[in-house]
């Protein structure tokens, strides 16, 4: 039905030209806005990455060739920030997806007060990341006044200074707390679209709960899992507020990820050229995931059109 209506109506070619002009006018503002705010700056970032450009030393500004990239590749902090970024993405992904899936299966069952319990469980996703950082830093992780320190003392253990001794783990815990609800929310939505009759049929065939999970639930959730993994990867690559409010990238460079490294290079060292070169790295990294995701969305689009 929609497939037919989506092909250009050649019979009504009379009005077609003015139609085309009107529709172009309708689309122009949004397209131009995105060009100006996203693509032009991206092009400028690429340009800056080949310039020697420090706000504090304007006399040395000029074309730098690949120099910024060379400096970057020789900078241990850059490599450390790249490694930290990948550790944050990988660890947070594994934890949020596994926990999210387990929770989605749990919350897909019927039990008393399910709606309320589910609502409580997804709440962290709606908390602004800045607040997340402060809750965890001050009220939970704090080595003296935090709840975890008190718990440790109750158990007769030595309180741990989480952000000082396990900074990376702490950051991952915070990100996981925020994003497991997202995985739960999306996977639960996916589970609820699982056709009842398939499960009934499997049960009649004597499938065990594990077989049902393995052969029906997982294949059905495959697409959803794929989307969750891609989206979360892109969001985790750009984690910032949780680090900014808690560790400030430290101790040392222990939790400096790529966005934080760029932030420091711009706002503390005022080095536009090197920060731009690092930003290009961040864009390339994000693109690895984005291209796969966009391909999927585009494929979905055509599937939707043919429906």
């Amino acid at each position: 039905m929609k497939a037919i209506s989506r092909t250009a109506p050649s019979a009504e070619a009379t009005g077609a030209r003015s139609f085309a002009r009107t529709t172009r006018l309708l689309m122009a503002p949004a397209v131009i806005f995105l060009l100006i705010w996203m693509l032009v700056p991206l092009a400028m970032t690429i340009y800056y990455s080949f310039q020697q450009y420090n706000l504090l030393m304007p006399m040395y500004n000029g074309f730098a060739g690949l120099n910024n990239f060379a400096i970057l590749l020789g900078d241990a902090t850059f490599w450390k920030s790249l490694a930290n970024t990948l550790i944050i993405v990988a660890a947070s992904l594994v934890i949020t997806v596994c926990l999210g899936l387990a929770l989605a299966l749990l919350f897909n069952r019927t039990f008393v007060g399910r709606g309320v319990a589910r609502t409580l469980a997804v709440a962290p996703f709606f908390v602004m990341p800045v607040v997340t950082g402060l809750i965890w830093k001050n009220m939970l992780f704090h080595p003296v006044f935090g709840l975890f320190a008190w718990l440790a003392r109750q158990l007769g253990l030595e309180p741990v200074d989480w952000l000082a001794h396990y900074p990376m783990l702490s950051v991952i815990i915070m990100i996981t707390w925020e994003w497991t609800p997202f995985a739960l929310l999306v996977l639960l939505t996916g589970l609820q679209s699982l056709p009842e009759d398939q499960i009934e049929a499997a049960k009649l065939d004597g499938a065990s709960a594990w077989q049902e999970f393995q052969h029906i639930v997982i294949p059905h959730l495959g697409q959803v899992l794929y989307v969750v993994v891609m989206l979360e990867s892109i969001f985790f690559l750009t984690s910032f507020a949780e680090i900014y409010t808690t560790t400030g990238g430290g101790p040392g460079t222990a939790t400096t990820n790529l966005p934080y490294y760029i932030f420091q290079t711009v706002f503390q060292q005022n080095d536009i050229g090197i920060a731009s070169a690092a930003a290009i790295g961040a864009v390339i990294l994000a693109n690895i995931f984005a291209i796969m995701l966009i391909r999927f969305i585009a494929g979905n689009l055509n599937a939707g059109a043919a429906r």
Binding site: T110, L120, F126, N138, M139, T180, A241, A279
Partner: protein, 274 residues
């Protein structure tokens, strides 16, 4: 039967325990907000205390600046949502009802701009903003929020428009209605619930945004995210006040979020999960 009822019961209890554990940090924040500063900052946490509104009063008091930041948050979130919808509706309308061979490409291209990391465009935007006076400026921040949310808004409005039966639009066209008349008289009224939830999603995302507000504003246009982030080095002294300010900043969003869970999934996954 009995054993399955038993296991259902166990799973229900387990689900509740997990839900409460996940929610606990928010609950703890809420409790701290109702404590006095002395009670908030103790080695042995006080679970039972006489609740006081003192911290809310200090947080909202004249001179705390709370209203200044709250106003900036409201202004930038609402304005960016309105501008976003104003840009997205015509575009989505053209793509949904008058598609041509480039439509799919344009739509996917718009969506793909969402995946450019903010740091990839931060530097030029910062430099241009400081050159033209948009740094620490509510309009500058609003336009950034618009750019950040526009791909999602376009996508969602498009998907809601696609849910409208094409016959209705074609009938209006045949009756001689112009494209714009069809949009305002036929399409918009039908898509109003969808537009409302799209707007709500954009509001939530703009309200919670922190990267752009932290990098682009300082005081004049600073939002609640920036204000709350400024507590990051307040060692102990203001925990109750910080908690009260945070509760006020997140409570409306959590409530709105609870109502828009489905739209959130639909929007953030670009329709891949409904």
């Amino acid at each position: 039967m009995n054993s399955s009822r038993f296991s259902n019961g166990v799973m229900g209890v387990l689900a509740w325990i997990v839900a409460l554990l996940i929610f606990f940090p928010i609950l703890w924040l809420l409790l701290t907000a109702f404590k006095s500063e002395q009670e908030a900052f103790t080695v042995v946490p006080s679970f039972f205390f006489s609740p006081t509104l003192e911290s809310f009063k200090t947080a909202l008091a004249q001179g705390s600046g709370y209203w200044h930041y709250a106003w900036n948050s409201v202004l930038t979130a609402v304005a960016s949502t309105v501008i976003g919808l104003a840009l997205a509706v015509p575009a989505a309308y053209a793509m949904a009802f008058y598609p041509n061979k480039r439509t799919d490409f344009l739509l996917v291209w718009m969506v793909s701009t969402k995946f450019i990391p903010a740091v990839g465009v931060l530097i030029p935007i910062y430099l241009v903003y400081s050159a033209v006076g948009l740094l620490d400026n509510a309009l500058g921040l609003t336009l950034l929020f618009t750019a950040m949310n526009l791909p999602i808004i376009v996508w969602m409005v498009y998907s809601y428009f696609r849910d409208i039966p094409k016959d209705i639009v074609e009938a209006a066209d045949i009756d001689g209605a112009s494209i714009m008349q069809t949009l305002f008289k036929v399409v918009l009224p039908l898509a109003l619930p969808g537009l409302a939830s799209t707007g709500l999603l954009a509001l939530i995302l703009a309200w919670n945004e922190s990267f752009w507000s932290i990098t682009m504003t300082d005081h004049d246009a600073a939002t609640l995210a920036v204000y709350i982030a400024s507590f990051k080095s307040a060692e102990g002294l203001y925990w109750a006040k910080m908690s009260a300010a945070s509760v006020l900043a997140i409570a409306p969003i959590i409530v709105l979020g609870w109502f828009t869970q489905r739209q959130m999934v639909r929007g953030l996954t670009f329709g891949a999960v409904k």
